[in-house]
């Protein structure tokens, strides 16, 4: 795929290209250029210096081409608009204004092909290139077909692919026919079709199809990467003569494709730069609007003596280390290799398991593909026997895989594919988890309810009754996609197979970037339908399954929980320990409260909550809130550096939550406004800005808005402004 390419676009700029046909409201040229710009901008996007593009104008007002210069006849009104060369944004911009219809229509399309062929021959010499000429025309200008056989022969000899895409050309296969075609056009279509047919490598098509196919995402092809090349063993060949060893190669079968990545840039505002070069691909950056930024790293350590409590460190003084819990363990360069587990490149089978014992969701990632070493008969036969035996026994192999010396071992599950899923006989492999990768989370069972007393219930509001089970079963069966789709021939096939499912983010991004490059002022394009067709169940199926869907909805009796019921004062369910002990009564006895009893700093949160739980008047709440506020201020002012900030923030959070529950948000808002002033003015024993920005703003402890508590007098906008 990284092969060198030389592509020349021959674009018909004749005067008839300015007309609109067949009910389109864009000219033939604009219609055709949708296809050409898409192709060219895809080349620009690839940023490959070895992909060369040239452009020849057909039916231009002037004449500029080699053949004509040499004095050959029949090459008038053909101009080389862009010589073959790599395609950049600059050349794209230079090209754009030159594509406009002319006032002539007397040039010969086949001559233009000859011009393009000449350009390719000069440019590519005898080197290895993918050569291609793409002609777009509406076929209204006369064509001389006397030499077309010779031209085809030459194209074949040089190895050039010829693509002819005509505006409103008839295409029976695609199903397009222009009824009111001029005789001229009909003849031209025939001539061009014959020419293409004579080419070993030729494509003839109609523009409507080409434009339609632009919407089909193009998948970036990646050069195959060999991840492993070596023996797959069973037993230890170094120790046991019986051990088996098959020379295999491992490639990727799946590998997650990523959306285009962005880098940080800034708007260009410095002096003009003459030799600015893009680091990555070394293309000159002329006419840039955006300037890449670099990262400047600085290193610091805490140092109480230094100004600001931090000291800059030179990068030469840095050593490496690892953390063992909170203990820092420095490693010298020579020691560092020790932490790596020494391994030897190997791929060895641990044992076998029945297929039925494996659940796909335990696998940890991308799939590999294993085949025998090429032209190694023993490996071919050996691996094949293993694949067939696994398949016949419905078993998988579990293997330990080290792709090269000193890399981490992995456990792979090897699955046989005797040329059923892919047309190759291979093993697929998927990575399996290690002991450390399993987090033991406990969940209650889904098919029974256990009570605290240890009873098992099978009928409960959390469990489906027979009616619901039946409705679910009917629904699932009705919504089956297995045969709902259609293949190319219209036969029933699987709906939404993987091949048809494109990554919407990647393709939408690429589309938007290409659009922006060709047309910087246009709005973002909408997401193409082809990218969103599987986001909802297919309508036809939903219509068909209407009664099952309604049946399920009825049997489910699902109810949305209304937005939080504003609860105030003791309306909340009282909390009790397992024994059901009346803890509130006990608290009332052992911690009798008068308005005067202060909240203790140490036990502030529980005491504050307990007061609110039993509070019967606003005074009590206000008093408690005030005390909480004082505690928060004191914690901050007592804090050495940021030591007590987390605690202050937690108290603040509890205060906020409590006052929201009590429907007195304005108490909190008033307190916070004062606190902000104190924090930023340095009133609380030093620079407390970090408390504000990191803990209050960062911890989302800002003003309470009507969203959270209806009675709040602070609007959303005010609350946002307050945090700035």
């Amino acid at each position: 795929m990284a092969d060198k390419e030389a592509t020349v676009y021959v674009i018909d700029l004749g005067e008839s290209m300015a007309d609109c046909h067949n009910g389109r409201d864009e000219s033939d040229l604009d219609f055709a250029m949708r296809y050409v710009w898409d192709k060219i901008s895809t080349t620009v996007a690839a940023s490959r210096k070895t992909w060369n593009v040239g452009v020849v104008g057909l039916n231009t007002d002037k004449t500029y081409n080699n053949e004509n210069e040499k004095g050959l006849a029949g090459y008038e009104h053909i101009s080389v608009i862009q010589e073959l060369g790599s395609m950049t944004m600059t050349s794209l911009r230079a090209l754009q204004p030159k594509i406009k219809p002319s006032r002539t229509s007397s040039a010969d399309a086949i001559s233009a092909i000859v011009v393009a062929m000449g350009m390719i021959q000069v440019f590519t010499k005898k080197l290895k290139y993918k050569r291609k000429i793409i002609l777009v025309t509406n076929g209204e200008a006369g064509i001389d077909d006397l030499q077309s056989e010779d031209v085809a022969a030459m194209l074949n000899e040089v190895g050039i692919e010829l693509v002819v895409i005509g505006v409103d050309f008839d295409d029976a296969e695609y199903g397009f026919k222009e009824e009111d075609k001029s005789q001229q056009k009909r003849d031209n279509e025939k001539i061009l079709k014959t020419l293409v047919d004579q080419c070993e490598n030729g494509v003839f098509g109609t523009m409507a199809q080409a434009v339609e196919e632009l919407a089909i995402p193009r998948i970036k092809q990646v050069r195959p990467f060999k991840a492993y090349d070596g023996p797959l063993t069973l037993g230890d060949p170094a120790k046991y003569e019986s051990a088996l060893s098959i020379h295999v190669e491992r490639y990727f079968k799946t590998k997650r494709a990523t959306p285009p990545s962005a880098s940080n840039v800034t708007t260009f505002n410095g002096p003009t730069q003459t030799q600015g070069r893009d680091e990555d691909n070394d293309t000159p950056m002329s006419g840039v609007e955006f300037q890449p930024v670099k990262q400047l790293r600085t290193y610091r350590v805490d140092d109480a003596k230094a100004a600001g409590g931090k000291k800059d460190i030179d990068s030469d003084d840095l050593a490496k280390g690892y953390k063992y819990g909170r203990t820092l363990v420095p490693f010298s360069e020579s020691e560092e290799a020790m932490v790596k587990y020494e391994t030897v490149k190997s791929f060895t089978i641990i044992g076998f398991v029945p297929m039925s014992s494996y659940e796909p969701f335990v696998n940890m990632g991308e799939t590999g593909l294993i085949v025998a070493q090429k032209l190694n008969e023993e490996a071919e036969l050996g691996l094949s026997a293993l694949i067939h035996a696994l398949h016949e026994l419905e078993s998988y192999a579990v293997a330990r895989y080290v792709n090269k010396d000193n890399s981490q071992p992995q456990i792979l599950l090897l699955k046989p594919n005797p040329a059923i899923e892919d047309d190759v006989e291979c093993l697929y492999d998927v990575p399996l988890p290690f002991a450390e990768d399993v987090r033991s989370y406990q969940f209650p069972p889904l098919d029974k309810v256990l009570t605290i007393t240890g009873n098992v219930l099978t009928e409960h509001r959390l469990l489906p009754n027979d009616n619901l089970q039946q409705a679910m079963s009917d629904y699932v069966d009705a919504m089956d996609l297995t045969d709902f789709g259609q293949d190319e021939d219209g036969n029933a096939a699987e709906y939404a197979p993987i091949d048809d499912n494109y990554n919407p983010v990647i393709h939408h991004m690429n589309q938007a970037i290409r659009n922006r490059a060709v047309n910087p002022d246009a709005a973002l394009p909408p997401v193409a339908d082809i990218l969103t067709r599987f986001t909802h169940p297919p309508e036809a199926l939903v219509a068909k399954a209407k009664s099952e869907i309604n049946g399920l909805i009825e049997a489910s009796e699902v109810k949305k929980v209304p937005p939080r019921v504003q609860g105030r004062r003791g309306r909340k369910e009282t909390v009790k320990p397992l024994s059901g002990l009346d803890i509130d009564a006990l608290l009332g006895e052992s911690r009798p409260r008068t308005k005067k009893t202060p909240i203790s700093t140490e036990n502030a949160i529980p005491e504050f909550k307990q007061i609110l739980e039993t509070a019967e008047d606003d005074d009590t709440i206000e008093n408690a809130a005030k005390q909480m506020g004082d505690i928060i201020r004191k914690l901050i002012s007592d804090s050495f550096a940021d030591v007590l900030y987390p605690r202050a923030a937690e108290n603040l959070r509890v205060l906020r939550e409590g006052l929201i529950n009590m429907e007195v948000p304005n108490l909190y808002n008033k307190f916070l406004t004062e606190l902000k002033g104190s924090l930023l003015s340095g009133e609380l024993n030093g620079d407390r800005r970090e408390m504000w920005f990191r803990w209050v703003v960062g911890g989302r402890l800002g003003l309470i808005t009507p969203d959270e508590s209806e009675v709040s007098a602070v609007s959303d906008v005010e609350a946002k402004a307050f945090l700035k």
Binding site: S263, R326, F361, E377, P409, D499, I506
Partner: protein, 646 residues
């Protein structure tokens, strides 16, 4: 470290991979304080039975060993979470810096303060459990009983000061005494009040009762007044603590470890209250979890060893332009490289570009499980479980779906956006069976539904470059079947719990040794359980394999000869239609050049450099060797490859 770092990482995440979503998830930090009872009965060694395998640990030793093991485990698996150890009922008292007996918490001994565990904490615990040394006489029970309310308030203070804003805070009480305040109603009430304080503070008490000599641990005597239902627990989750004891072939230590481990990992959700659109017009709510996650060794950090103690170096990055001028955040744009330039979008346009619909899990239909290709795997799966918080009835509907999928071997196909701005993905919804079932495939995973990400067409690599035509099964296959049948893994399944990651274990073993200033371990000191049992393989199937190898050698020879004849025949055969000729010639040309034997020959004769660059690149690409650089580099690289591979 806590908030700001996460925020930065999230910022980066926006333009990269959604994988970093998990950062949200890490900010929910966990703190666990072990409170271990020190009493005569806890210290009492078990009755000697004469059996070598019998329990030798006292309940206290088992509890300390358990804490020790869990501390090491947490250093690896939860490097940001805190842990502490508080002993109660001790003769000595200690709280933070005040060492004497004048603390406010008599008979409470804070062995390790609540913090991210460090080498000293590990060392302290190990000295107590392994060396059986107790020079400081810490493990001496007090003569008078400890006041439980004091212990609970002590824990309260430890949490209030050290883990003020942690999302998950838990007190693990390990004791064999079900009635610490028999007959003292006043003391019981005080304890209940202090327990309510902890509840209001957001601390969850987990009790790990130890019962011995078949005496039942009676919760109703005391602990039922202390323990509350975890408000975060799933509806329907059974609450009662599990009693640990020795017996049934299980030592007390193992029983305790298994009980504590089941609670030890804080259950962190990956997302909560995600709408699950099960059918048009039917939505329930779910929570998501990641029970399977690749655990990797900690990353190296920069250290400054200048003065006194080594310190972690904080690195800060500033964005500068070509003139080394710092660029303000407001001036920064995200640029996409395009034809040597940057294509930029306004921030609001970028948001729009990435917005692919609201967060949701939406079923578009169902398929037979067999329709999911066996290679269709790209990423770990996410576990989902119903939640009644948004939609009442979610659990029963979820359960009905789960049962149907299990029964009929079907999977749901769904469109999944984990949160606003997350990359959407198609998932297959697989059910997992009850872990307690006799024949469970995944006894190590909970029962529920799994979102199994399906590859996009973009994620599938072409296989055109490999040629491995289908072959018929033959007697080699039959012989291989004998081998496979005799090498089944135990219980006929892959149980990850039996395979610790050797690289990870080694990493922390070395770190621990260095941190504790011990001798550096050697590789042979650590068992690598991922290595096959070679001796057993030879014993069980060595015979079959030897025979198989003979058969294979013979067959391979035959095939080789066949091919040689065929090639000769093809070379002689000139009379073919032109078009066919062209392709066969090409293949014939490519054949020998690609064949390893020919390459080796060319290498030995030194004729590799006579090939053209294009030819070299073709060959090298087919072998997966890098094709960058000049011809001399190519030749050298190919030579190296031939030397090491052929």
């Amino acid at each position: 470290m806590s908030w700001r770092k996460d925020e930065d990482e999230r910022f980066d995440a926006d333009d990269g991979d959604e994988e970093l979503d998990e950062n949200d998830y890490k900010t929910q930090k966990d703190a666990v304080l072990f409170a271990i009872d020190v009493s005569k009965s806890m210290l009492k060694p078990p009755q000697p039975t004469g059996d070598k395998k019998a329990d030798k640990d006292s309940a206290l030793t088992a509890a300390l060993k358990c804490a020790y093991q869990i501390m090491q485990q947490r250093i690896i698996a939860q490097p940001r979470d805190m842990m502490g150890v508080l002993l109660f009922g001790t003769q000595k008292s200690k709280f933070r810096d005040d060492s004497g007996n004048g603390t406010g918490y008599p008979h409470c001994y804070l062995l390790s303060d609540l913090d991210i565990p460090g080498a000293e904490d590990v060392k302290k615990l190990r000295e107590l459990v392994e060396d059986d040394e107790d020079e400081d006489e810490i493990l001496v029970p007090s003569k008078e009983p400890v006041v439980m309310s004091n212990m609970l308030f002590c824990a309260n203070q430890v949490f209030t000061t050290n883990a003020a804003n942690f999302g998950s805070r838990r007190l693990f009480i390990v004791t064999d005494n079900d009635d610490p305040h028999a007959g003292d109603k006043q003391a019981k009430s005080s304890a209940a009040v202090r327990a309510k304080d902890l509840y209001d503070l957001g601390v969850i008490i987990e009790l790990f009762p130890i019962s011995r000599e078949d005496k039942k641990f009676d919760l109703s005597k005391f602990y039922d007044d202390i323990i509350y239902r975890d408000p975060a627990a799933e509806v329907g989750e059974s609450g009662g603590p599990k009693t640990s004891k020795s017996g049934d072939g299980l030592t007390l230590l193992n029983s305790l470890i298994s009980n504590i481990n089941s609670k030890q990992t804080p259950k962190r959700s990956y997302f909560s209250n995600l709408p699950f659109e099960l059918a048009p017009g039917l939505t329930i709510s779910i929570k998501g979890y990641i029970p399977l996650n690749r655990q990797t060794p900690s990353r190296a950090c920069y250290v400054y060893e200048g003065e006194e103690q080594a310190q972690v170096v904080q690195s800060e990055t500033a964005q500068v332009d070509f003139a080394a001028r710092t660029v303000e955040k407001s001036e920064l744009r995200k640029g996409y490289k395009f034809g040597g330039e940057h294509i930029c979008f306004k921030p609001e346009e970028l948001t729009e570009l990435k917005q692919m619909g609201k967060k949701t899990l939406r079923i578009i239909g169902f398929k037979k499980r067999s329709k999911i290709p066996s290679w269709a795997s790209v990423k770990k799966s996410i576990f989902i479980f119903p939640s009644e918080e948004q939609y009442v009835g979610s659990t029963r509907v979820f359960s009905a779906l789960w049962q149907k999928l299990l029964k009929d071997d079907k999977v749901g196909i769904a469109w999944f956006v984990a949160r606003e701005n997350a990359h959407p993905v198609m998932v297959a919804i697989f059910p997992s069976g009850n872990p307690d079932d006799e024949e469970a495939n995944t006894p190590f995973l909970p029962a529920g539904l799994w979102l199994y990400p399906l590859p996009f067409a973009d994620d599938v690599r072409s296989t055109d470059h490999v040629s491995a035509p289908a072959r018929p099964a033959d007697d080699l296959t039959d012989q291989m079947r004998l081998v496979i049948q005799n090498l089944q893994l135990p219980k006929a399944m892959y149980d990850p719990r039996k395979y610790p990651n050797p690289a990870l274990q080694w990493h922390y073993k070395i770190l621990q040794a260095k941190a504790l200033e011990e001798e550096t371990p050697e590789t042979k000191d650590m068992p690598d359980l991922t290595l096959p049992k070679f001796k057993q393989i030879d014993k069980r199937v060595g015979g079959y394999l030897a025979e198989w190898k003979q058969m294979l050698a013979k067959k391979a020879r035959n095939l080789q000869e066949d091919r040689a004849v065929k090639r000769e025949f093809e070379d002689d055969d000139d009379e073919r239609p032109a078009k066919r000729l062209k392709t066969t010639q090409k293949a014939a040309n490519a054949g020998p050049a690609n064949s390893n034997a020919d390459l080796k020959k060319a290498f030995e004769q030194g004729t590799l450099s006579k090939m053209t660059v294009a030819e070299l690149k073709d060959i090298m690409a087919s072998k997966g060797i890098s094709t960058a650089g000049r011809k001399a580099d190519l030749v050298e690289r190919l030579e190296e490859w031939i030397e090491s591979n052929l």
